[in-house]
Amino acid sequence: MRPLVRLLSTLLALTVAAAGALLALEVGWHWWRPESGPLLVPWPRWQAELASLGWDAYAVRVGAGVLAAAGLVLLLCALGAGNRAIRLTDPADEVSVSTSPRSLARLVGLTVRAQDNVAGATVTASARRVRVRAKSTLETEGELRPRLLATVSALLDDVPLVRRPKVSVVVDSPKDRR
């Protein structure tokens, strides 16, 4: 999301700069020589078209809808571009440490997969929550889940996280489906 926001904001800034330059240029030119035609932008033609178009025209409604949707997308992109790094406690003054969500997920995943009777696991992690989805063919959810919860909690106790994420474990076992 972050590179996208950087790209979008660069393009927006370029557009704003170009629009500002054209505005100043055209207004100045028309003020200086009112009788000669427009410099770059055919604005008298646009003026005539806009004057003949009502607010309730189909094109205007569609354009407004597209503009609002684009604005919403941009808004969500900007909100979603936050820093996702997971902070660890500072080992010393003026030293700050962080790790990536992917790293934490990898760490938890390795431990979970090393447990007995776990056939496979997918882990997603963020600063607030660690989700584990384990597969087991030999144990039911009731048997395996408390054990995995305890293991992951013990593991997270070993990692000096600033904020301890909540752990949720789901076990997918064919034994439960009987």
Binding site: A17, L23, A24, R61, V95, T99
Partner: protein, 199 residues
Amino acid sequence: MSKSVAAKALSRSYTGERTWAFLVGLLALAGGALALVVGFGLLGEFRGRRPLLDPMALDWLGGHATPARIVAIVLGVLLLVLGLRGTLRSLRPEPRPDVDLDRTEGAELVVTAAAISGAVQADAEQLDGVSRARVRAVGSRTSPALRVTLWLNEGTDLRSVWTELDTRVLTRARESLGLDVLPTAVRLELDTSAAKRVR
């Protein structure tokens, strides 16, 4: 709460870009929604049927031609300047400042960014469990900081890397540079072994 230099050095700041994108998005959303409200006649049937370029507004502009022109030109120049500044700001790569050790006139001493990051990188790669290290100087000339990215092997004890990094690598860097504090941001990539194929 203001962030410390070390916390700021963890990653490049996106505040400017995010704020800018947020404001433009908000403006577009509000403008589009307002145009839709007018277009569907929610502000009165008659209002919706008037042309986009309203004759009333044009008359008013014609009556105040000179101030309107001045405002338009000033606005255009302002937008041009702000837009160019924003573009340059976004496109400029993150600076790698050199570290000033001595600012006394005639006896200035400067360590280049490449020298300090090379030295710390070589030290950090000696640590147990570190497979790769990358170090770069970040921040500004007046408040420089180091950003250290460490790739740790699978099964490395995090706490030992923790203490070793501070006691050996960073302390040595501080001592050799003669600085009391050297703000440092460490990014850890855990358990990065080369992918092993399981039969």
